[in-house]
């Protein structure tokens, strides 16, 4: 069963908060990881690994560059999650 979009956003916000210290309420679908949320390319790898674990999803390295906004990541996770 696919994950609920709101639940994924909430979980992703917690991950970004843990890694970059951004308040969870600021992690919105239209925000860019690098430009708005202080997540550089190294921290993005941490976000991806944490998201894979939390949402039981595989995010291949090739796919990471396409995840520019929080919305991109939420959509990918909702579409590909196994849980």
């Amino acid at each position: 069963m696919a994950q609920d979009k709101d639940a994924v956003l909430e979980g992703l916000a917690e991950i970004v908060n843990e890694i970059a210290g951004i308040p969870t309420e600021d992690v919105a679908l239209d925000k860019s990881f690098t430009d708005d949320l202080d997540v550089d390319s190294l921290s993005m790898v941490e976000v991806v690994v944490a998201a894979e674990e939390r949402f039981d999803v595989k995010i291949p390295d090739d796919e990471v560059k396409n995840l520019k906004t929080v919305g991109d990541a939420v959509d990918y996770i909702v579409a590909n999650s196994n849980s």
Partner: protein
Amino acid sequence: MTTENRTVVVTGIGAFTPLGGDAASTWEGLLAGRSGVRALEEEWAADLPVRIAARTAVEPGEVLPRPLARKLDRSAQFALIAAREAWADAGFTTAATAEGSPIAPERLGSVIASGIGGVTTLLDQYDVLKEQGVRKVSPHTVPMLMPNSPSANVGIEVGARAGVHTPVSACASGAEAIGYAIEMIRSGRADVVVAGGTEAAIHPLPIVAFSNMMAMSKNNDEPQRASRPYDKARDGFVLGEGAGVVVLESAEHAARRGARVYCEAVGQGLSSDAHHIAQPEPTGSGVARALAHLLESTGLDKAEVVHVNAHATSTPQGDVAEIKALRKELGEHLDHVAISATKSMTGHLLGGAGGIETVATVLALHHRQAPPTINVEDLDDEVAADIVRFEPRELPAGQIAALNNSFGFGGHNVVLAFRTV
């Protein structure tokens, strides 16, 4: 000698040490003769031959925000905290890259050294790899473990674009960094340099490795009495951690912006032993040559030298060799020099030692007080010099100078000199 010999002064200090979370509390601890050495309570320490160390008085995680701290090795955390203090103490309120900064970024450098670098990151991440697999190794591992990381992070913090450097010479690293920074300013390459040393190596592997070299004190039952330079019962050094950082500045630049000046950074003397990879040269000739180089290259009059913050790590051989070297070069004048071994209180910070001991030396001149050496209950007969014991000692009025010695495995000898202005 450089063609453009500009006078260099110290305008800011910062420290994060086993005695306190800043320079003021560290200085207070030194004057009070307080030991920062404790029994290691960590589970991993239980079966080690050495179960004592001097941890920082404050945890860096209590000072730095978590998202920043988790991207920095502990050694870089220490350096960043001490550098921020020194930078603010020098009167700077923004990074050099900010608009209206009194220092241009192209005229600002950072030279912070560490003896071992991010050793705990390296070892911890190897544990992660073995126990949790490839995917869980932090992508920050390389920028955390590289030995230039503290210097680079401080350079980014203050906006240093004249050069970021990291000389590595084991336990002389911090002093070599400060010497390098002095030369950067004297040669005209920079007007201001943030310089110092940091170390965070309290981890079972470095402890066992040093211990197997027979270099460490095993006085586990009396942690606060274990680091005892010059005492007959000394049996090796006690590992400490932390950082000491100073802001060095050309005298002209400091005067132009009306900066408070602690003292002059006169210069450095350098030499190498070519003797043994881990043993001090027993006659102290290498150290004596470093001191001779200092006096010759700076023109410092040895009669002005009234205080030495000695390297004195509490090892049987090294402490004596250093005194022999001082006697060789200073002759009878050594009898008028107050010698302090602050490692008796802070433990040995390896590459951080030159940093915090420079801060101590600068403050000794500034307050005209030499900190005590604790635990010298039975002075070694071979130590024929005036060791400041038990209580701090007032230093004379007038123009006075002080030395800070640091030596490292590999036979690196660094003597730094500072003078009142």
